[in-house]
């Protein structure tokens, strides 16, 4: 089971998250967690895995009228092509073969 608690301030900005990754229940209740946070902090809980995934991969998430509003998805990471070691070796060989040795 995956579940996510989203804590937000009086303006709807997300200030903290608490999530569960595994079976069972959260080890700490939401009210106990709220007791450690600034006055005015509120919490919503979601357990839809797709929504949790969207939350975790987006920036600028807000809570408006008690509802989560997903922000902008992060740019996907650039794909680094795998190194072509054989080509690099061939290149080094070519460079070496063109060197003139001087004494």
């Amino acid at each position: 089971m995956k579940a996510l608690r989203i804590y937000y301030d009086t303006k709807g900005y997300v200030t903290w998250t608490s999530s569960l990754d595994g079976p069972g229940e959260f080890p700490v209740s939401a009210s106990d967690e709220l007791a450690t946070m600034p006055r005015g902090t509120k919490v919503i809980a979601i357990d839809d895995e797709a929504e949790i995934a969207s939350f975790n991969t987006s920036t600028g998430n807000r809570v408006v009228d008690g509802k989560l509003v997903i922000g902008t998805p992060y740019e996907p990471a650039p794909v680094v092509p795998p190194r072509d070691l054989a080509a690099e070796v061939d290149d080094i060989k070519t460079r070496l073969s063109s060197l003139e040795l001087t004494k």
């Binding site: 997300v14 903290w16 998250t17 608490s18 999530s19 569960l20 990754d21 595994g22 079976p23 069972g24 959260f26 080890p27 700490v28 967690e33 995934a53 975790n56 991969t57 987006s58 920036t59 998430n61 992060y74 740019e75 996907p76 990471a77």
Partner: protein, 137 residues
């Protein structure tokens, strides 16, 4: 089991105090916001844990924590570079200034809780980490 003060103990007595163990794998989205994550499914309250994590490439972290939540790790962010860190149990340094790291917050009845901190805007392949937990069922 209780070991009295001054009592002679044998290896078996020590093992009896941590006579259960479990390995589980978890993941962490690199872009996820800072916060607590409770990892469950261990079947007992761990007393110590060992965590190995990576996001692939040459980025990896190896961390340990004891019963008092003292923790440390060694992490790598590039080939043949290893850094000791006494302030986290897992530290995934993706590029300069972009990190997902965690400290052990609590040992819980069915697992443990990590407090993750995101620094910068790390992106890329999510973190996979394996946990070996020792405890007593």
């Amino acid at each position: 089991m209780t070991i009295a003060t001054g009592q002679d103990i044998e290896a078996a007595d020590v093992l009896a105090l941590t006579d259960d163990s479990k390995v589980l794998s978890h993941s962490r989205v690199l872009t996820a916001a800072s916060g607590d994550v409770a990892y469950t499914g261990y079947g007992f309250q761990p007393k110590t844990i060992i965590i190995f994590g990576t996001k692939g490439g040459s980025t990896a972290s190896w961390g340990v924590a004891d019963t008092n939540l003292a923790e440390m790790c060694i992490y790598s962010y590039s080939t043949d570079i290893y850094v000791a860190n006494t302030g986290a149990i897992i530290y995934i340094d993706t590029t300069t200034g972009t990190v997902q790291s965690a400290v052990l917050k609590t040992f819980d009845a069915d697992g443990f809780t990590l407090t993750w901190t995101k620094t910068g805007t790390p992106t890329g392949t999510d973190i996979t980490f394996m946990v070996l937990a020792f405890g007593r069922a």
